[in-house]
């Protein structure tokens, strides 16, 4: 970047062209107060708090790029007086009485109030009452606390690509709305929760963290989400000195750019499945409790004539221990080999122009990949071609929609595609054949489970074999009931499901943020996940059991 010389507060400095005054000031450790500005979002200069003076004129430092001959003054009396008055106006617009607000303590508006020493209202506060929208499962919108900075609107469209939030009415009646002014709970919101994360005040909050702890009462733990193989970066706010997660935010410095999906942000906070709370073994009278030694003893007895099935929810460390204990008798319960190997990465997805999605609803699964694509479609920088015969919420967004049986004829019609990326999960043999023919295509495979790739790396493949004893380790019990009918079945799983009573030995294992480990994401990169919580139940650490088995065996 070319360097130019400008004056800031009378001092001549050399700065990079193309940067804004605010960015330059930040690099020079000069403070400019801001409110509507939020770095990954495009600046919009609407709050006017970041005003500075350039050659006698006020400019917003967040939107104004540095230019030759600039003579910027950050804190002239005029600038300070103007900022002060603007803040006064803002505080009187709606209900900004801090003491009853959930955001108090973490609120950016409140911080500005302290910074400017605002201790009374200079103008009549005119109470405009708006209805609080409590219709959503996770999110509450209170327009009375809103400063109309539109960070949520910008985040929803520019970053997350959902385009759900928008504005209604003009002037002082302006409000943030979902879709065409429907309650958020009935809107097309995918519950990605990015709006909550970017809101500077208490206008958009999530129900779980409501009054459960301010930032100062929590510790921040950087980790990754293991709900799907995208492996998004997360920032976990755990309440200090307690076994409780207040909220999960997206990490803006990771590949997911702060975006999460409903699973990443809320699955760990709102546990919907019931947990298996203790280990039990079936005898003639039903189930009875069993302790750690009993588990080791039983497994050790049954190990000889056993086959081990796993699914893709297991971490690399766990898989390698399983291989160590059970050698080549370990199989994947589900198909885990890609129909066509991936040859592009998440970064390629972000920069591509044409996308062909085959049979995946990216609003429901792999949500962040969906965000990357949708935001390009909305900004008219990309095209989405969808092949799906079932319900797919991407149909409202896609430029072209075909049935899955129209794959060949559909592709025939689209001749001007610019090395499109094919995004798929399952493909039939015929579909694989059609797609492989085209040399122009790039492929992005979405593995079925979080660590499907890890299974392959450990050479664990899908195969069904009959055996006297069956051991299953994982979360997805779907495929187990048919093969386990006549065998003694040992199940390591975190959840209590309807069919679980058909099996013989049930061992609850840690789940979610109770366990740590690593897995391979869609790009084949190793993603680490930290342990944040202790289990509330009598669950076991899978690794501890496996290590004990190794110890027992070697004796």
């Amino acid at each position: 970047m070319e360097k130019i010389k400008i004056k800031i507060n009378g001092q001549e400095v050399e700065v990079e062209q193309g940067k804004t005054i605010l960015q330059v000031a930040k690099e020079l450790n000069l403070h400019i107060p801001t409110l509507c500005n939020f770095e990954p979002l495009l600046p919009q200069g609407s709050c006017r708090i970041c005003l500075v003076e350039d050659r006698g004129k006020f400019v917003t430092s967040c939107t104004t790029q540095v230019a030759p001959n600039m003579d910027v003054k950050l804190d002239t009396p005029d600038v300070i007086a103007s900022r002060n008055l603007i803040l006064q106006l803002l505080f009187t617009e709606r209900n900004h009485y801090c003491m009853y607000c959930e955001a108090s303590g973490d609120c950016e508006l409140q911080k500005l109030g302290y910074e400017f020493g605002l201790d009374h209202f200079e103008f009549e506060t005119y109470e405009r009452k708006f209805t609080v929208d409590n219709s959503h499962n996770y999110i509450v919108i209170d327009p009375n606390r809103c400063v109309l900075c539109r960070r949520c609107v910008r985040a929803c469209s520019q970053l997350a690509g959902h385009n759900v939030l928008g504005e209604m009415n003009r002037g002082i009646d302006t409000t943030i709305i979902a879709d065409m002014n429907v309650p958020l709970g009935e809107s097309s919101c995918t519950s990605c929760g990015l709006c909550v994360q970017v809101c500077p005040t208490g206008a958009i909050t999530d129900k779980r963290s409501y009054y459960f702890g301010k930032d100062i009462q929590t510790e921040e733990i950087y980790s990754n989400c293991d709900q799907c193989p995208v492996g998004c970066g997360v920032k976990i706010y755990k309440k200090k000195g307690s076994n409780f997660i207040v909220k999960i935010y997206g990490d803006f410095d990771k590949e997911n750019e702060g975006i999460l999906c409903k699973l990443g942000r809320y699955a760990a906070l709102f546990e919907e499945k019931s947990r298996l709370t203790s280990a039990k073994i079936k005898d003639d009278f039903g189930f009875k409790k069993i302790d750690f030694d009993g588990i080791i003893k039983t497994i050790n007895e049954k190990m000889e004539d056993s086959v081990v099935y796993v699914d893709g929810s297991l971490f690399n460390e766990e898989l390698s221990l399983i291989k160590k204990v059970f050698k080549d008798r370990v199989f994947s319960l589900y198909e885990n080999e890609p129909p066509i190997e991936s040859n592009v990465s998440i970064d390629d997805i972000k920069s591509a122009k044409d996308y062909i999605v085959i049979g995946v609803d990216l609003n429901r699964e792999y949500g962040v990949i969906g965000s990357f694509i949708k935001r390009k479609i909305f900004s008219k920088n990309g095209r989405l071609i969808l092949f799906d015969s079932n319900y797919n919420s991407l149909k409202n967004v896609a430029n072209y929609v075909f049935g899955i049986d129209e794959l060949e004829s559909g592709l025939e019609k689209l001749k001007d595609l610019d090395s499109p990326i094919i995004i798929y999960k399952n493909l039939s043999e015929k579909e694989t054949e059609i797609l492989s023919k085209n040399k122009n295509f790039r492929f992005f495979y979405l593995p079925f489970e979080t660590n499907s790739i890890g299974l392959l790396k450990e050479n664990i493949k899908h195969k069904i074999e009959k055996s006297k004893n069956i051991i299953f380790i994982g979360k997805n019990l779907q495929g187990l009931k048919d093969i386990a009918k006549e065998s003694f079945t040992i199940v390591f799983t975190p959840y209590e499901t309807d069919e679980i009573n058909k099996f013989d030995l049930l061992i609850p294992i840690n789940d979610g943020f109770e366990r740590e480990g690593s897995f391979y994401n869609v790009d084949g990169k190793v993603i680490n996940k930290a342990k944040v919580l202790d289990s509330k139940f009598e669950t076991f650490d899978l690794k501890a059991i496996l290590e004990e088995l190794i110890k027992v065996k070697s004796l």
């Binding site: 609407s46 003009r170 008219k380």
Partner: protein
């Protein structure tokens, strides 16, 4: 053989005062009396003195009939068309002398006007492209395409001294030059017809009365900056303008004057019409761009300016209807001809919508530099009902009030700004002694409060707080502190708002505070409104006591 040519005004104002019935009656009578061969009737755009509509001119006598109705038409057909005697009592009457004027050309309302932009308005049938071509229409486009380079076109426009007629007065040639120099595979020309000032109807009249001149101006602009696509953004409240522009566009495309390979040159230029939903702020260029893009119509920060990054991020020029209507005459008559009219820094003419308490209201086009006194007292005929002049509000909600003492100031961009008003798009509202200046300021502020897009805080909240203070004062509950507060707020809103709406919205308050401060004091100290407009709530006070 045609003996009489009848021009009947079908501008929106005349239409709403019953032009259609008058015209139908006229046509029926002509058919009944078998005058089809002798009398030719042409419906034209706005003739100017809208207050006296429906209007009709009969050539060759040059008789200007006003305030017509069906009965009057009957008499005119009998007396004038058949017997050859103009019906004197229906002719224009000068307010001063109460004398009927027999020929249009000596009517004082028209005498001081100079019609460049409105040259064709009221003289040709706007729905017939041949009539436009008959007045030299599309000649300028032909000249530009066959004889001039884009740079030469920009040079001519620059030399003419033409400045944007939308309000800010930015030099048009310079704007084109920036867009020409901006890099981009695609560029756009936008015609801003989103005329939202209350009481202003200049652009509407041009679009209704001479739509082709707008199209021609746009095509020339497109050639100059290297754009092949143009958009006309016009308000949905102007259905007649939309209809006539659409018709004009259709005709021009049929004649090969808009579209591909214009006049068999390599120049392509297509125009689309976009209809605005009536938000005042969409007249602001960046908000207008957002609206065309299908986004919520709210302004974006500048820089980058549209000439660098406009519609869909491409270099774009946005010119007002009136600005573009000047182009073809500048090309045909040369820049010197144009710059011979006007003052040193402001050239050409300006169209004003004259309204309020004057005798003759309507649409006027005057050379820039004329005094306000001439516009109000000579063209407008003075104050109606023998009342006393108090102020003239120029530039709509973004403008300010000018008092008696400054009436001799020449009307140009700089002088008006120095008076605290602006040229604006051209609304001119005359106020007399029955108008309360505090109430006027409140009226305009109410408009801007309502029309603020709600994006930036000074405009969204600041204007509302200013309105609250004015409301207090007009109810007799103001304090002297409120004046200080009002001025403080006005200063901050003006200097810190995001777009021109907020930056100019305090003008009505500031200018009335400047010239009519004692009226504010009267409201506060004496609880008195000299115009008897503000009603002070005394009963309530008593109850409290």
């Amino acid at each position: 053989m045609t003996i009489l040519t009848v021009l009947i005004c079908s501008g929106a104002a005349c239409l709403s005062s019953g032009e259609e019935a008058v015209k139908n009656k006229l046509m029926t009578l002509i058919n009944e009396k078998n005058l089809q061969d002798e009398v030719k009737v042409i419906e034209t755009g706005c003739m100017g003195p809208c207050q006296y509509g429906p209007l009709m001119i009969v050539y060759p006598d040059n008789s200007f009939y006003i305030s017509l109705n069906e009965d009057k038409i009957e008499k005119i057909v009998d007396e004038h068309f058949i017997k050859g005697r103009p019906v004197k009592e229906y002719l224009w009457e000068t307010p001063e002398t109460r004398k009927k004027v027999e020929e249009k050309k000596i009517i004082p309302f028209f005498e001081k006007q100079l019609k460049i932009v409105l040259g064709n308005c009221g003289n040709i049938d706007p729905e017939n492209i041949d009539e436009y071509i008959g007045t030299g229409g599309y000649e300028a486009l032909a000249k530009v395409l066959t004889e001039m380079t884009p740079e030469e076109v920009i040079d001519v426009v620059t030399k003419s001294g033409l400045r944007g007629r939308g309000g800010a007065g930015f030099p048009t040639g310079l704007k084109w030059k920036f867009a020409r120099e901006a890099k981009g595979d695609q560029k756009f020309v936008i015609c801003n017809g989103d005329e939202g000032d209350p009481g202003a109807f200049m652009d509407r009249s041009v679009c209704e009365g001479d739509p082709h001149t707008v199209l021609e101006g746009m095509a020339i602009a497109g050639y100059a900056i290297g754009a092949n696509k143009g958009y006309i953004y016009i308000r949905a409240e102007y259905p007649l303008s939309v209809k006539r522009l659409q018709l004009a566009l259709k005709q021009a495309k049929k004649y090969g004057l808009i579209g591909k390979k214009i006049l068999e040159t390599d120049f392509n230029f297509d125009i689309d019409i976009r209809i605005g939903a009536g938000a005042f702020v969409c007249g602001e260029e960046t908000a207008l761009i957002a609206s065309i893009e299908g986004e919520r119509g709210q302004p974006r920060p500048r820089p980058p300016f549209p000439a660098q990054k406009g519609l869909w991020g491409k270099p774009t020029i946005i010119n007002n209807v009136e600005t573009l209507s000047n182009i073809r005459k500048i090309i045909l008559n040369g820049p010197e001809w144009f710059s011979s009219v006007g003052t040193e820094k402001s050239k050409g003419t300006k169209v004003f919508a004259l309204s309020g308490k004057v005798i003759n209201t309507g649409l006027v086009e005057v050379p820039i530099g004329i005094s306000l006194r001439e516009i109000i007292f000579d063209i407008g005929g003075g104050i109606a009902n023998g009342k006393k002049f108090k102020a003239v509000q120029i530039g709509g909600p973004s403008g300010g009030c000018v008092s008696e003492q400054n009436l001799d100031t020449p009307v140009d961009y700089e002088s008006l700004t120095s008076l605290g008003a602006i040229m604006g798009s051209g609304g001119l509202i005359v106020l007399d002694e029955d108008n309360c200046m505090v109430d006027i300021a409140k009226f305009f502020l109410e408009f801007t409060v309502d029309e603020s897009c709600g994006q930036c805080i000074p405009c969204r909240v600041g204007l509302k707080q200013m309105y609250n203070i004015l409301d207090k004062i007009t109810k007799g509950k103001g304090t002297m502190e409120d004046i200080t507060r009002l001025e403080e707020l006005a200063k901050v809103v003006k200097s810190t708002s995001l777009c021109a709406l907020g930056q100019t919205a305090p003008n009505p308050v500031l200018s009335t505070l400047k010239y009519f401060r004692d009226e504010y004091y009267e409201h506060i100290k004496e609880k008195k409104c000299r115009a008897n407009v503000c009603k002070f709530d005394e009963i309530e006070e008593k109850v409290i006591k």
